[in-house]
Amino acid sequence: MTSWLLQRVSAVILLGMLFWHLAAAHFPPRDIDFDNVVTRLADPAWKLFYAVFLALALFHALNGVWQVAGDWTVVQSHRRSIMALLWVTGAVFLALGLQVIVVFDSVVAVARP
């Protein structure tokens, strides 16, 4: 039940956040370059937004994969292995993403001449 419920909760929140992200980043369409991403990610409010966005998106995506896996695996031990793999994947990619979001200012300081 938890998987089912959280998939819907994350879906609703992600929908709202997606619209916001699209409005800020992609419309009107323009070439994405270092500068406009930098401007956004330097702002702590956007940092928080993207951190939450990332975590929720990863959860929804991997929970979705878990649903598919659940349809196809019946053996308990297989299910446990897949669950573990999904959690590890989530943790790794969350870490990768958060690193960019959180660490950004110092990178900017290094990258700009």
Binding site: M1, D71, V74
Partner: protein, 239 residues
């Protein structure tokens, strides 16, 4: 009209792989798939094996797959089931072992059904008056009571392919029916049984079952309502 009917001939005592057999026959325009089968068996090949009984969509015996769609043979017009050129391929229900030709062993279907405690357990002792079921309960059940256990819904369900332990639309409709029966005292136990990894959480609101059901029952609706009920009861601590 002229039809070209193909049936995979098979027997669990015979060779491993079924062998297709095709017949050409002329039937009246309004003939049902069952009419065609009776014609085939009567005049073309007496060894063709299929189940049928009431011919009026009440016994649920003649379920099968026609051109890829699970149907009740007595209630399906041959003209509608057939493809262009009058080609009709009849196959046994999915996911169940074939006994012979179009007859399958439905043990798995009944096992899923039995698992949800499909009977009313009233409070002990004799009541003063009859056991009453409230009109609002009947309304909430929808058409769940009219299920004839034909097995078409389970055969149409794509989840049953990948998960043989999935309770399936029919069992879940029955669960919904009994959970809404105010006379029953085993409601919580039943909900706990249903609330498993192979219960209503496996349904992905595909609606194949609702489209296929010959009695017009909407199992997807029952399953969605069942999910809502279990979620509310678990979240409020009642389950």
């Amino acid at each position: 009209m002229r039809l070209r009917i193909t049936v995979p001939r098979a027997s669990r005592d015979g060779p491993e792989r079924p062998v297709d057999q095709t017949w050409e026959l002329d039937v009246p325009e309004g003939a049902t798939v069952l009419d065609c089968l009776e014609e085939l068996k009567g005049r073309h090949d007496g060894t063709l094996t299929f189940r049928a009984s009431c011919r009026s969509a009440i016994c649920g015996t003649c379920a099968m797959v026609a051109n890829g769609r699970s149907i009740l043979a007595c209630r399906t017009q041959a003209r509608q089931a057939a493809a262009r050129g009058g080609r009709l391929r009849l196959e046994p229900l999915r996911y169940h072992p074939v006994i012979r030709d179009l007859v399958v062993d439905l043990a798995a279907y009944w096992r899923h059904y039995a698992a949800i405690v499909p009977w009313v357990t009233p409070a002990p002792g004799s009541p003063e008056r009859e056991h009453r079921i409230l009109p609002r309960d009947v309304e909430r059940m929808g058409l769940a009571e009219t299920c004839i256990h034909c097995g078409v819904c389970l055969s149409a369900c794509p989840i049953a392919l990948s998960d043989p332990d999935y309770l399936g639309p029919a069992a879940l409709v029955a669960a919904w029916r009994f959970v809404n029966d105010s006379r029953d005292t085993r409601r919580r136990e039943r909900l706990r049984i249903v609330d498993s990894a192979h219960g209503p959480w496996r349904c992905h609101t595909v609606f194949n079952c609702a489209e296929a059901c010959p009695k017009g029952i909407d199992p997807t609706q029952a399953i969605v309502r069942l999910r809502g009920l279990i979620a509310r009861e678990r979240l409020s601590g009642r389950l």
